[in-house]
Symmetry: C3
């Protein structure tokens, strides 16, 4: 007999009755606030074309590396789960892939994926029995039926999810056609882009050379010169701003920054372009470009985000067969104190610059990030990220940053996801965990409840809008 | 008046009444399951000869570096506690040593040693007053009397402890006579060995040269050749498998692995043998041998364990006077992401390889180990180890690994101890802490209670059997 | 309407009713014990002259980098908060500065500063409304009035705070005139100094050369010779001991120690003196001097403290304009295992040496510091420090050190503050958090309540006296 599925109203709140009562009251004031999603990886084409999603596997399983990485760790081939390889689509039958996944749900016990999935199943699709091997077909069929209805098309879900703003992330070489289509469509949903220049900044990126060429073409600049390359960034940033962007994002292996003299920077660029660059040159170029991006942000107002510290494509064989973003990125120990100093020496005291720091190395929360953000006007802390975007991870983030940086040097929640249907679930988890943390502070008489209520609302809604300068972005109907 | 001693039925469960009720129910289903001890350091001679243990000091104090390291840190000479030095046995009178220890029990408040000792005192020996200076003689006498009885001989205790399987750890140069004697004795207890080749793999091991010579003799291989050295490993692994081994164990200073070409590996071996090796060569040889061991494991099925990151014999004077394993091993910062890549590039995607990782560096739980184990089919996570084999340590392990790796990439509990009488206490602590952690997840509606009960039983019993392939090992009566 | 201000009697105790009841009982036995403050940075001139404090801004805001760093991180210029720059006093009107601060109190929600401030406001000044923009003037005026009264002069507050002993920290070049004045004044308060030789040991210290010259003069030694330099330390240490010092303190960038041969050490000193030293020489000299200090401590009995791991003056512009200690010191990853080995190889086994270790890198608690302190007779652990001197920070300290080092390798609390009025608040937080931690152990049946009561009293009072050898220091009336 299948297990029942239901979402308890007190889920994720601390167990202690007194604390839970406070958490429930706090959450009562923020649980239904509109969703601000200032950073993520959904596909703007969904909202441009409003095409129905196909089926459970292609919507929920094949694009979600949180899910298939876990099954892969237990010996399940990822091609059997609908994941495309470099040569093309997965040969797996979507229903068979879904059954395979459904027979492994016990692997997710205690993980945020279980929470997100159950939220999607119960709240979005209305299931009241849990997914397992016995309910796999029932799920697959029912999800398929619902996805074919108007209520489950992308824009309808966007509206139903009460999303006030959703940011996607594009390369400078993206022509932003979907964003343009969204704006011209007359639909009222606010979907904006963000400038993610890694492919034209990181010489180790597999698409660097092709991207660079397209970057020059799109911007109309002669990028064989350093000045032209910088100008190309300015041009594309302007185009992104026109498509609603308020932020840039930088996913480098480290948080290293540099502040070279203009001739040094120029010479470095020519070594990179000449293809004679060393490994150190590549790192130095990424480092220098963060400082260049900060300089441009002071001019054009784009908020910077740095997401460092992932050892990308750690599994050589999997990368060879399937390409990037397949659940084989592993965090590494990350330094911020020395890494950021060149940029901070140059721009750290600028109140008009906003540089939001993320980490995969939780040891830096209390040791480096909170002290840095609790001092430098330009710095803010992004929320618990990726592997740490989870109840325990978020709790550690608050426990380890708040005492030094406070709440107001943080920026609320980022869902950072490509799993569109899970966005309400993810924001709900963040709001519940924050309310639980605040409730503990209240119960320990470290904060009054009315103060906590103010903080809870700021974390859920006001801070992301302010930190990402989203008030300035108006619906463009 | 001495303090009473009793083991509360709710010990180690969370304080909250609702959570505690759940924990108690979960524990009720696993508390009395048989003990699987797949990795440890008890002496097989105990079970081979079944000789009575001598006295409290030689059984409980002198071999337990957790205990005498703490007294040593407060200025008590360890020779006064019955610890032998390199020249021979301690000159200390066992009773005097016991009294000295008993007068320092307050030092252990809040430590797992206090929990384990009190469990042994109350449950194994039946004491109902606590050990302190005033009860030292009473304890010493009573323990001495009991140890002389049949019920306290090693095999009787093994049976009483409900141990289904116990693994010891031996060097390849061990002739396994005790294991042979156990199997020929007709006694039904399952005591198996494990292959720990550090003395013939680590050029920095003090016994390296002597061990290497014996390794060649025992295996009948000409180890002056690289091929012969590798074959000697295969031969000894087979002998260990015949003595019930299902695993190997590797205690290196780092987790470094290498994947040299055969000619490079051979040349390295000759540099090692020639004694002209550099410090880097020694490290590289250890690294390469982990990959060689993985290759052999794919052939013969032995599960690999890596226990890296201990700075052995940190106290130069103590090492000089007393030798190794005297409580002066200190953990160090340990990298896994780069260290394991060569081995993982070669064998990480093999579902038939099981490589169990341990750490003394808790920062790697959420940053490196859980992401690695949550992706690679070959990897599993060993339980909280050594300094972290404790209530808080186990709790942190679950809190920091579960959300990314789940429960099913972990392998249940290892007691890893040479303190035989503490084995039930240690497994009991692990079961209680795991039930407490699961109870919190249930109370926060992150898991249903029937799921938690299944996980609790898996952690206590099924996972260690499966991960260490112990179902294949049958009692050999 | 302003928010009410009150100090709940149960503040900082765990929320669970059962645990809280135990915590309250434990705290009831230690809450009013006299304050032992064995390490801090108050100004001895206050107690020498007993001059009234001027106003709220100069007493509470301008010297407290915890406060103005937070406002600075939100774009408030620190000169507007009464902070002096290198050229002289702040141009800000004290009342205006106070108003500016008062309008930003929400930034401190969840921080220890909020707890300390509210304690000072409620308990020291008797306020029953909270500080915010609407009460800023009321606060400023009332504090001003009270500071002008006899009851708020430094010595009266010292007595009212029930401080049994307070240590300040001075450079070897300080002539200790205030300490002499205190002792000659007939006042019974015990205020002692501590020997902080960084300015004459750290070649990178901005005052190194000037300090060295004065060091030679004050000690009457020819410091152009290595022997004279060492003798100068001995002379000044004796002078500090006469002024009540029982400890030294060392604030180096790392915990590195060295144990050079005498000729090597001498040659190094001449390289330093000659100004031709490399960056490595500066680090090696600091390292060697820690070992020299340990050697002297074995002779004269001074307890050593090492406070490593702060990247001082990280903000180049702020340092240029305002000088050191302006809230821009950032913790860095810190190694102890390799760093301390040279000193420990030489003196680690000496029970007569006390070396108290601090850290800003919490990852070292369970990995390095607890294992080291749980073994070496010379080592003890200082309390959670600086950014970690907070409820969550203290809790993590206990959770991560106790199981390996126990309570009795720690030394109770240090307030380490220059904020005199916050001293009772800080000790109160430490006592409450420790009682809360102990109460959890009791409620989980890991310790009996009478044992916990003993530990609580030891942590609050007995351990700091013993570790810092303060019993030997008698009031010198």
């Amino acid at each position: 007999m299948p297990r029942p599925l239901s979402m308890n109203v007190d889920r994720l709140f601390p167990a202690d009755r007194g604390v839970r009562d406070i958490a429930r009251r706090l959450y009562g004031q923020v649980g239904t606030l509109p969703i601000i999603s200032p950073h993520g990886h959904t596909d703007p084409e969904w909202f441009a074309t409003d095409t129905p999603f196909a089926d459970a596997t292609s919507l929920l399983l094949a694009p979600d590396h949180y899910l298939y990485r876990m099954l892969y760790s237990h010996g399940v081939p990822i091609e059997a789960l609908g994941v495309a390889n470099r040569k093309g689509a997965s040969p797996a039958d979507p229903r068979a892939a879904w059954r395979l996944f459904s027979s492994h749900t016990h692997l997710f016990r205690g993980t945020p994926s279980a929470i997100w999935l159950n939220h999607v199943f119960a709240e979005v699709f209305g299931f009241d029995v849990a997914l397992d091997a016995t309910t796999a077909d029932f799920y697959f069929d029912r999800i398929g039926e619902l996805l074919a209805t108007a209520a489950f098309r992308p824009r309808a879900l966007f509206d139903r999810f009460n999303i006030e703003l959703l940011a996607t992330t594009e390369s400078p070489t993206d022509e932003l056609v979907h964003h343009k289509a969204i704006r011209q469509s007359g639909w009222g949903g606010r979907v904006v882009t963000a400038y993610r220049p890694d492919p034209v900044i990181d010489p180790d990126h597999e698409d660097f050379w092709a991207s660079l060429q397209k970057f020059g073409q799109l911007s109309g600049q002669d990028i064989s010169f350093w000045a032209g390359y910088l100008e190309a960034h300015r041009v594309r940033r302007r185009a992104f701003i026109e498509a609603g962007a308020t932020s840039t994002d930088h996913g480098h292996p480290t948080a290293n920054t540099a502040d070279l003299s203009p001739p040094e920077a120029e010479a470095l660029y020519y070594r990179i372009l000449g293809g004679v660059r060393s490994k150190e040159d590549a790192e130095l170029f990424r480092a220098q470009m963060l400082t260049e991006m900060a300089r441009m942000s002071l001019d054009d107002g784009l908020v910077m985000q740095i997401h460092p510290g992932s050892y990308r494509n750690h599994n050589a064989k999997l990368f060879w067969d399937f390409g990037r973003d397949k659940g084989a990125d592993i965090p590494t120990s990350t330094d911020y104190v020395r890494a950021l100093k060149p940029l901070l020496d140059r721009f750290g005291n600028e109140p008009d610059l906003t540089l939001i720091l993320f980490t995969l190395d939780e040891t830096t929360y209390s040791r480096e990030l909170a002290p840095l953000a609790g001092h430098y006007p330009a710095l803010k802390l992004g929320p618990a990220w990726w592997f740490h975007d989870s109840p325990e991870g978020m709790r550690r983030f608050r426990e380890q940053t708040t005492e030094t940086a406070g709440f107001y040097n943080t920026v609320g929640f980022n869902d950072d996801t490509r799993a569109f249907l899970s966005i309400p679930a993810r924001h709900d988890v963040a709001r519940r965990v924050d309310c639980g943390f605040l409730a503990r502070l209240v119960s320990e008489h470290r904060m009054a409840e009315d103060e906590a209520a103010e903080v809870a609302a700021d974390l859920a809604y006001a801070l992301p809008k302010r930190a990402y300068k989203l008030d300035a972005v108006r619906p463009q109907a």
